[in-house]
Amino acid sequence: MSDRWTRFWFAPASPSNLGLCRMLFFGGMLLFYLPTDFSAWGDVSPVFWQPIWLFARFHLPMLPKGALTVMQMAWHVALAFSCIGLFTRTMTAVSFALGIYILGLPNNFGTEYHYDTLVVMAFAIMAISRSGDAWSLDRLRLRRAEREQPTETAASGEYTWPIRAIQLVMALIFFAAGTAKIRHSGLAWVVSNTMSIMLVQQQYHIANADPLTTVGLTLALHPWLCSLLAAGSMTLETIYPLALFNARARAVIVPSVFLMQVGIRVLMGPTFNQYLICNLFWVPWDRVALAIRHRLTFSRPVTIEAVPQ
């Protein structure tokens, strides 16, 4: 058991994949959150303040707008530095420390959304990881300093567990969503009109965003199709943890759930963009980079210089 655990989490890997994941994840998060002004929450009346567990337990206060503005700017800088891999260890830690407050803050007003939970946990994991050992300015600086004897970073379990841990968090989240449906409603969630009714209800402006289309209304007219959608969603969510252990299951489950979340946005409204971005942790970027490099090398035209006689 201990052997299996160790081999699963800490099988030695090169730092490339984790480095590329870091770059894409923090870059994606910076672009995603840049247009959102979290400092506006500092102006909201305390009458709305209904602290969630995290804020109540650790006595985190509602900060004024000025402090939030500074905090938000520092967070954006930390995300940018984490993306390019400059002072990576410190900047990923700052991204997490500021991110958990900034992303948690809106949930103290009215209702808890779960769109950012995965992101916060991924920030925590990246803050502890050694994600700056490849594809980073830190690495370039180190190489420059070691110009006389450049050393390659050895394969290590340090570069495996952070990616696996983020995949684990995704698996647990979807597993929770699937089991919640089974626990609260059972098979009736699939065979009743629940999905069809929900598809219509979502057109009445009840989510954080309206559906992108009215196709949900057309689907709702076909109860068998709605039951099929419900069965598919519940099954995929519940069996998502299989993607951690089985490559074939991964190839089916991960893209299917990605499409399911796109479908939710299109048909029902709720915005899972952060989750969609976090799917990048399932992609073996080092192999993708290698394949691209190969393709570029082989597609480059060969020039033969004429040698003067």
């Binding site: 201990s2 052997d3 160790t6 800490f10 099988a11 030695p12 002004d37 506006a40 909201v44 009346s45 009458v47 709305f48 969630i52 567990w53 995290l54 958990i100 948690g104 809106p106 007003f109 009215g110 808890e112 950012d116 939970t117 916060v120 925590a124 994991i125 502890i128 050895a154 290590s156 379990g157 340090e158 567990w161 841990a165 684990l168 968090v169 647990l172 989240i173 597993f175 929770a176 969503a177 089991t179 919640a180 609260h184 409603s185 969630w189 009743s192 009109n193 629940t194 929900m198 219509v200 209800q201 057109q203 009445y204 402006h205 009840i206 954080n208 965003a209 009215t214 709702a220 007219l221």
Partner: protein, 183 residues
């Protein structure tokens, strides 16, 4: 020779363990354990401890094609006042769902009139600040009204703006400290 695969496994594990320092291995295991225990706790107990959660949204059965929802309406200022649904861009940083959810506990508080007045005064002042900053182009308000709407769902959602029944729960007048509470 039967013991060889087992030995090989043990050696692989030893190599893996050597590739990380002991304290780092311990830290990584602690983080992984914390994530698993935290998530399973909320799943088993059916509770929420953000960022952990049971992710129970949309898990309840819907048996009747009906809907009840809170709606915030603005009342235009001027000689012929007109009611209109407050759009998300007028409520920033709230969205519609978050704002109405935030009003629910206030509605059931024993000081509900005072709390709702404060809440809607805040909503109205942010609406006006956003309007003056040209963040939306909705008209000035003389009042905000909180309704509960009841619908029998239409398969094509044609009655979104025409509920079967609407109940005025509270009204906040912007230009005076008066407010009207409705049971």
């Amino acid at each position: 020779m039967r013991f060889l695969p087992g030995l090989q496994k043990l050696m692989t594990t030893a190599v893996i363990s050597r590739s990380m320092r002991a304290h780092r291995l311990w830290l990584a295991n602690a983080v992984i354990g914390f994530l698993i225990i935290g998530s399973l706790y909320d799943i088993v107990r059916d509770t929420d401890h953000w960022p952990f959660s049971n992710y129970g949204m949309y898990s309840e059965l819907q048996l009747t094609p009906t809907l009840a929802a809170l709606r915030l309406f603005g009342v235009t200022d001027g000689p012929s006042p007109r009611e209109f649904l407050l759009e998300p861009e007028t409520l920033d940083p709230f969205d519609r769902n978050r704002l109405t959810s935030a009003l629910v506990p206030l509605m059931y508080d024993k000081n509900k009139n005072e709390l709702l007045t404060r809440a809607l005064r805040d909503t109205a002042s942010r609406y006006e600040a956003l309007r003056r900053a040209a963040r939306h182009h909705a008209p000035p308000l003389q009042a905000i009204r909180l309704y509960r709407f009841y619908w029998q769902l239409d398969p094509m959602a044609r009655n979104v703006d025409h509920p079967d029944r609407k109940q005025l729960l509270f009204e906040f007048r912007v230009d005076s400290p008066e407010r009207v509470a409705h049971e």
